[in-house]
Symmetry: none
Subunit: 221 residues, 4 copies
DNA sequence: AATGAATGAGCATTCATTCAT
DNA sequence: CATGAATGAATGCTCATTCAT
């Protein structure tokens, strides 16, 4: 005789679901109120789960943050790779950069929650108690820079591998700063301007700076 | 023989001084731990003043934040105007932009505390209880953009007033994003790269984008 | 070998009991020191429970007061109805009033705590933050008056229903004032005089006033 | 040549005036919020005087309460004696009691503030720190009882001095309870019924009880 | 796996009071 | 006589966390 799980069963086997609900709520609330500004009680109210459930699934508040960041990072870069699956195989660097960055802007819009929390953690040390989360932050920044370098390198592939590398190294940090700055502006000034416009302008700038490097050799940093 | 007032006198009658000490400590600590992450007790320990003294000088924690932001904003823009007192009267837009932005970078280094707190407030809503502080944040962003426009306009003055205006309007937001993004990078990756390099690269990008606008008319946004 | 639960076990799982302990302590202390004069810390010391336990069981200090008043009112009127279960079915109004009021006096002695807190809340607005408690106060006064009317009406039942009603309406408020005034005197002058004497005298007065109404029709208010 | 006091002089010589302002504000606020519920800060805001001024004029919060009570008691009994200056020299005890109590009701209406604070102090021990004030409370109750006895004795003077004394002793406490109870009712139920009606009914009751004593000798307590 | 009760440290804020000017 | 600044204890309340069931 089969005992089908009641649709609103109070028993166990909701483990995985609860865990994910908690992670989602934590990402949502912490990205808005910051880590210190988010209390376990608030998350308990938000999810309807008792506070003790949080400690069943996570070691501590800091551990919860770490898990949130890890999952967010994973999703973010997965989305990035996914959206860039079929890059253009020719075209000017400018065109290619536009293609890359436009898509990158789409990912920004979807990963707003994660990026907001990431930047808050970057700026303030309010989560000093969560070293794992801080480690994730550092990795994400690093990987982000690497990804930006990859996009630039690909876009300048036509200029030769060595040159493309040189350009990518020179501009990756600046590209990422443009990305971060655009995100800050979007958070601050709201929808005054669509993301795509920010990304196009960034592509324009990177293209111009890159061409200068290609043309001049080592004259620009 | 003169009896100088003991430098560490425990008297009252030091109203203004206490107030400023509190403001300084609050700016320092809040910029590091965020608003929610900064407790009045922590500030009390930091300053040596009892908690009640804080409520003598400020209405509440939110009121203290507002005062911190106001004073920080005032100092920031004062430093900006001061450092740009004798702008170059000729030279290429590129040279002029470099001059402006280099100095702007110096102000960034001195105003790190203020800018960090500002960005944290921009990103998270953790200070929703301090509407005056949020208002200051908005004003600062606005004024910052206007200042960036002013620098670009001045740099392109040689191309005619109307063109300079057009360039400034088209690039001010991007310039500010570059500034913000560089600040984020500095907070995150630390001193891997001096501010001046960031600012030079930003000047290069703005110059290139600006020249394109001057050359092409309305082809770039 | 049986391990009986230690009678003073420090376990949790005693939700109801803790709640009741808190209510009792609050009733006791608040009735003596007033609402504003009673601190949560004092109640914490009194009960041995940590302050946070209070907020687990009640929303706030005001909510605690409301619960105290509600439970007190419930117990008070239950005791009243209980003590008057078998009223005399004949006798003069004077005799019957004495029977009723004597028993009412007993309830006063047992409900001293509740009545003291009730009167403090009636007199001062010190619990303005607890509107539910104030509502209870109003209900209790109303119900008290109705109960006094019921006692008078029953006592004068021999004079016909209409007359009894008339007498009850005319004297209920005065009867209640006598009850309140006697309680005040007992609080103030202490045991100079037993409650029964106060109640007898009140019965005498109500009987005399009532007879006058019965005799004269509408000549007394 | 007369030096008129400048209407808004900032200098001294406002001592007496400040003191009285403080006393008035304290009586007003404490009678509404209770002693514990009234903070020195609230009184400071209410009067516009700095908190330190309070300690210039009074020793402490408890001392202030004592002064408030003392002044209130003084005024209350002065008003009582004043309003009863020309008592009726003949008439039935009933008529005379009505005359006395009606006027007593007027004093109640004017002394509401004082009586409210008095009763709160009687009921709760929230001012245990102010023994002088508590002493005043006791004295006032005592003097009140004596005054009630005086009114009854005068009203029954026609029955002979000894009998009048007997009646006064037997009824003074009850009379005062009726007075207190009426005051409680007025605070609680508000203006549902004018004071004069309460006082008339009390006079009726006292007259009836008194006549019974006069008639029966020692049969009533 | 899930939960209601408990816990004590810590929170922002207000308290009565003091004191130098 | 008047006052603005200071002070530390206490206020009501929330925090992250634990634990028996």
């Amino acid at each position: 005789m089969i005992e089908p799980p009641a649709p609103e069963t109070r028993t166990n086997r909701r483990g995985r679901r609860s865990r994910q609900e908690i992670l989602d709520a934590a990402a949502r609330v912490m990205s808005v109120r910051g880590y210190a500004g988010t209390s376990m009680s608030a998350l308990s109210k938000e999810t309807g789960l008792p506070k003790s459930a949080f400690y069943h699934h996570f070691e501590s508040k800091a551990g919860l943050l770490s898990a949130v960041m890890e999952q967010g990072a994973h999703a973010f870069f997965a989305a990035m790779r996914e959206t860039h699956r079929n890059p253009p195989e020719d075209g000017t660097p400018h065109e290619r950069l536009r293609w890359y960055l436009r898509r990158t802007g789409d990912v920004m819009e979807n990963g707003e929650e994660f990026l907001r929390l990431l930047l808050v953690l970057v700026m303030s040390r309010e989560a000093a108690e969560a070293p794992e989360a801080l480690q994730t932050v550092i990795s994400v920044r690093e990987e982000g820079r690497a990804y930006m370098a990859h996009m630039i390198r690909s876009s300048f592939a036509g200029a030769g591998e060595e040159t493309a590398d040189q350009v990518a190294n020179a501009l990756a940090a600046f590209g990422m700063a443009g990305y971060d700055g655009a995100f800050v502006a979007l958070q601050s000034e709201g929808g005054g301007r669509p993301v795509s416009e920010w990304m196009d302008q960034l592509a324009d700038a990177l293209a111009a700076l890159g061409e200068a490097i290609v043309a001049g050799g080592a004259d620009a940093c």
